[in-house]
Amino acid sequence: MNSIPEHRSTIALTRAAIANGTTTARAVAEAALSRIEALNPRLNAFLAVTADTALAQADATDARVRAGEQLRPLDGIPVAIKDNLVIEGVATTCGSRILENYRPPYTATAVERLCEAGAVIVGKTNCDEFAMGSSNENSAYGPVRNPWDEERVPGGSSGGSAVAVASGMAMLALGSDTGGSIRQPASLCGVVGLKPTYGRISRYGLVAFGSSLDQIGPFAASVEDASVALRVMAGHDERDSTSSEAPVPDFADLESGVDGLRIGIPAEFFADGLSEGTRECVESGIERLRKRGATTVDISLPHMKYATACYYIVATAEASSNLARFDGVRYGYRAEGAELLREMYMRSRSEGFGPEVKRRIMLGTYVLSSGYYDAYYDKALRVRTLIENDFRKAFVECDVILTPTSPSTAFRLGEKSGDPLQMYLSDVYTITANLAGIPGVSIPCGTSEGLPVGLQVLAPHFGEPVMLRAARAVEV
């Protein structure tokens, strides 16, 4: 079976077909489940398949159709969930051995909202351990493979979710994006991946990595499908005090074009390190918008070159505190035979965490430790202000910013896994949005040597409507 589907449906078409009886939600769910069964042994995108739940949810949609009720926004749509989002009673591993047997007693708000909108949850997707990685090679359950070339990485950390959509095993998938973990795998797998504004979607039920950076967002085959999912999940949740009370627009105005739109092109994103094939695809995408009436503005984000250093200080510091909770007491793995509490903590964590997670906990502990706090952590927080100010100034001159999502197309399995710093540098174009808290979306924009290239659209805080309109214009 070809792992890239020849034909794709959209949420709107699938819902319409279910509503008018051309197909049933059960048939759609069964098709997704049989595709997972056929492809997952090769791609390793799913860690758990929730077939019984999926079929029950699909049957509920079909019952609605029979009862003549109006369909909800996601009725009958097969959705995959990254394995760092909790669903009551469904194993949630975060790609880690330390949570191998964890069964959450509650469900993430984002997942709950999808289910209330009729979504059919088909399973939990593989990811880098605790969402730490850019290639999915850090999963304790083996790497995910890119359906465009199975010897290549799908990107990370939400690689399983990107692959689930790219290979047609699900129509939508949820990921989390702390430094690019939705947008970069979307780019490498040729699908749409959206990181909303910080606070747009509740993080309740997302296992925390970097709490000031993490956002949940959708993967989809089109900008329109991504906007439907965003609409369903967005909005305040009293269980996450950082979720925004800002009004949620319907994100449905995708077709009104880009005439007169001012597009910022930051020179810093097109400098050394960008592969030639990626540059060509992104420039042709920008040209497409110009032909449709958008104007381009050269802008500068002068502190961009400090973003990777700043990000890996902030993110590892937050990770070292967040992951302190995995101590073998309340949940997760506990080492056998320790006589004293501290020994039990040390051995459980050392046996339960993989090398990249340990490395980041160590870096975070170091930059927060007495004597180094000012030189690293405090310094990084101040540089973060400079990076956010760069965007504030830029968005006076332009409405959206267009950049490549990733410096290159999908790299080979093993190519960067021995060199952590090189791996960190592959996030160079995505991490600034997390530091500043602004939204970003990656859209497929052609291929280079047979591999997909992603174009990134960035917008000001809560600027998803204009961001999606520009993204849609790249797509058509």
């Binding site: 047997n101 007693p105 509650y106 910080y198 606070g199 000031s212 009293e238 925004s244 009370e245 800002a246 502190h303 990777t308 250093a309 890996y312 200080i313 070292s320 073998g328 007491v329 309340r330 949940y331 997760g332 793995y333 506990r334 320790a338 006589e339 004293l340 509490l341 020994e343 039990m344 040390m346 051995r347 964590r349 050392s350 965490f353 090398p355 340990k358 160590m362 870096l363 975070g364 502990t365 170091y366 430790s369 030189a375 690293y376 405090d378 310094k379 990084a380 927080l381 101040r382 540089v383 973060r384 202000t385 400079l386 956010e388 710093l421 960190y424 500043a436 808290g437 805080h461 809560f462």
Partner: protein
Amino acid sequence: MSISREVVLKTAALAHLELPAEDADRFAAQMSEILAYMDQLAELDTAGVPPMSHSTLAEHVERTWRADIVKPSLGSALATANAPEGFGGYFKVPSVITRAPREREES
């Protein structure tokens, strides 16, 4: 910044991690390289710049407090259901301190 094996081991202890000897050497080399990269932040003069610990939500949104009322919670049975070792709705852990050697002999 280059860091020694000793600093790596001290940091590991602070983070409640045990590192085998070969890991400590590897981590010292990798962390030195990563920290050297991070040292480029020192080029920037940030004296008058305020630190930003969070995306500035306050500028965009008026925060409101929820009503201070008691709501149902998980309850101890569910909250402890994932514990590697539990005891009647409690978490069970190994001893926090060891007994003195003489007491041990007497018991």
